[in-house]
């Protein structure tokens, strides 16, 4: 079967929709500038803001102004609706899935109402904090178009590669017959939380960013959303849809190197790009354009250049990063940039890598001005904290991809609880230096399961969490609010992303395999298991380490007490092995 793209939607600092986005790119008009909406004290930092207030976005999206909705969901809704409307798809009774990656989720509402919660106010916003609440809010507002009151939803949360992982899951769901149409991508608004977090890492440039330039000094944060509507080619043709391009290959790997830095030789990035090409059955010389991750941090651009050089050698295709247009839209970047890649295919151009003037040793030389020419295959990269690396090939003509029936499995080995003595044996005090107690427990459980199953290197590491790494998130948030965004410690931010657990285990065990985290209430476990079963059915993995993680933290428990929601702590690990069924 071939996977057709029949609709795209995009919103970012350079446009409210695809038409505006395309115009800005062709005009080489950047959206990065002074902060107007976010309201952070760090006005010295340029950002790629969508230049509308929440109230204005609500008006554009047809959401009542008094309905609480995270900015992530508002941006997501606008782009998701555009992709659906463009595709012309209606009434997908036999299976519509909405897969939307995010990490920030409703953190903006939590920041705004932190003090309100202390006095029992604005409690309707509390449940919107978590990542999946944005996915659900978007899905609910799409239902008049899809006539689908309860679509299949999932929220991959692997930091800055979340949206590409959403697209991969969507493609795999089509290939295993779990859905007839999938809307997949990601959304992320700016928040004070991650602006300050990136600031503690000292990787934010104080002037517009310069990807792959010798003088690059960090990234500018942006916000936005991007989605692709995916269908089987025959379904798209049967309903007379216009096919904009095809998903022909993809891969997700782990760099397994460091929580925030990329390896010098770009191992994870190289493996992701190579894997995507192999699935598509393409040679490196078939790729006409690479939309690089290209954040403009000294480390990313050097590491990505090393990976590109390893893969393409002397025959380097045109490469550019579009982050000098939009800023780094973090979890949304894979969706937004995949949509830009579809525009590039459709209209035959290579987007410019703005602000580039000077090369340096080890860096690839990007395309500086828009080049108009026909493209056959483009590669889109998105890399995240923890070394969660993903790559996607989008083509003018599709590759034939295999299909499979979904088979259900039960775990071969499981560790449900972890006592302190056993934990100490599996994770030393020195290793646990930056871990919360619950993190140390789950790392120990993972190691015990790997030992007992005799599988030291599972093909996949999959984490299911309802709330994510709340202890470190709340620590960073409280310090940020109490210290008025000044003098913050980086470690809690680094450990705050949902993918901390799965990537940390990959780093500790040197595992370069498939690595993903799902954030979902109440059924994160279903999402994670479904992904494992999907990939086993398609023959991509033979073994998978499944992790279940949630932790209590007093500051958030106090807030949740105002609602009917609770965090149910868990730190368990189990190993799934193909063909070992009960």
């Amino acid at each position: 079967m071939r996977i057709a793209i029949t609709g795209i939607g995009a919103i970012s600092a350079i446009g409210r929709n695809c038409a505006e986005t395309l115009q800005s790119i062709l005009n080489e008009q950047s959206g990065i500038g002074a902060m107007r909406v976010l309201g952070s004290v760090h006005t010295e930092l340029p950002v790629g803001e969508v230049p509308f207030s929440d109230a204005e976005l609500k008006q554009m999206a047809g959401v009542p102004v008094n309905e609480p909705m995270p900015r992530t969901a508002l941006l997501g809704l606008l782009a998701a609706r555009e992709a659906l409307q463009e595709s012309g798809i209606r009434n997908q009774e036999s299976g519509f899935a909405f897969i939307s990656g995010t990490t920030v989720g409703g953190m903006d509402l939590t920041e705004q109402h932190w003090h309100d919660y202390a006095s029992g106010q604005a409690t309707e916003c509390i449940a919107l904090h978590e990542a999946d609440a944005s996915t659900q809010a978007i899905a609910q507002h799409l239902s008049p178009i899809t006539y689908h009151l309860s679509p299949i939803t999932a929220t991959p949360s692997t930091a800055c590669s979340s949206a590409l992982n959403a697209i991969m899951l969507g493609a795999n769901m089509l290939r295993t017959g779990q859905a007839k149409a999938v809307l997949a991508g990601g959304a992320e608004s700016l928040s004070k939380f991650h602006l300050n977090g990136f600031n503690t890492l000292m990787i934010l440039d104080h002037v517009p960013c310069r990807p792959f330039d010798a003088t690059r000094a960090g990234l500018n944060l942006g916000e936005g959303a991007g989605y692709l509507l995916l269908e089987r080619e025959e379904d798209a043709l049967a309903r007379g849809a216009v096919i904009l391009g095809y998903i022909s290959g993809y891969a997700n790997t782990c760099d397994a190197y460091h929580q925030t830095a990329s390896s010098e030789n770009g191992e994870g990035a190289y493996r992701a790009m190579k894997g995507a090409l192999e699935m598509a059955g393409l040679k490196p010389s078939d790729i006409d354009y690479v939309n690089a991750h290209g954040t403009a941090t000294p480390n990313n651009d050097l590491s990505e250049s090393a990976a590109l050089t390893r893969l393409f050698g002397a025959s380097m295709p045109a490469v550019s990063s579009t982050k000098a247009f939009t800023g780094h839209t973090t979890s949304a970047s894979g969706g937004l940039e995949a949509a830009i890649c579809v525009m590039a295919l459709q209209h035959g151009f290579v987007p410019a890598n703005l602000n580039w003037t000077e090369t340096a040793e080890g860096l690839i030389q990007p395309v500086v001005h828009t080049e108009h020419r026909a493209l056959r295959h483009v590669l889109c990269n998105a890399f995240g904290f923890g070394g969660n690396e993903s790559a996607l090939v989008i083509s003018a003509s599709g590759s034939e991809l295999s299909e499979a029936d979904l088979r259900h499995r039960t775990p071969a080995v499981a560790v449900e609880t972890m006592d302190d003595e056993t934990m100490g044996r599996y994770v030393s005090g020195a290793e646990a230096r930056r871990m919360t107690l619950q993190t140390r427990r789950i790392v120990a459980a993972a190691r015990q399961v790997m030992e007992q199953s005799g599988i030291a290197q599972p093909d996949a590491i999959v984490c299911a969490t309802q709330w994510g790494c709340m202890a470190q998130s709340m620590k960073f948030l409280q310090e940020m609010i109490d210290n008025n965004e000044q003098q913050l410690k980086p470690t809690p931010f680094i450990q705050s992303t949902h993918n901390t657990i799965a990537s940390q285990i990959a780093i500790l065990t040197g595992n370069h395999g498939y690595n993903i985290t799902y954030a979902q209430r109440p059924d994160a476990l279903d999402c994670a298991l479904n992904d494992i079963e999907t990939q086993m059915s398609l023959g991509y993995i033979r073994s998978a380490l499944l992790l279940r993680f949630d932790e209590e933290v007093e500051a958030w428990d106090r807030v949740l007490a105002l609602t009917s929601e609770r965090i149910h702590p868990c730190a368990s690990a189990s190993m799934y092995i193909k063909d070992q069924q009960q």
């Binding site: 503690t200 000292m202 460091h258 925030t260 830095a261 230096r433 930056r434 980086p490 680094i494």
Partner: protein
Amino acid sequence: MEQLIEQLKHQIIEALNFEDMTPADIDTDAPLFGEGLGLDSIDALELIMLMDREYGIKLADPKAGKAIFQSVRTMAEYIQANRTK
């Protein structure tokens, strides 16, 4: 200077969560990164923040930390010369 070194060791242990360590375990002249304490780039960011919070020293360029954080002694010398509180 010796007093500052002792105080700094306490602050490093706390900032970097070396729970089982005492100041006596840290060699004043041993390298902080690579060998010795075996610190990494996240620790470097924590040390930059430590200097900001405790001594009012702001480093704009993380690369500048490399020379300053060679050992506890080089760090103490830098603090002595540049502290604003």
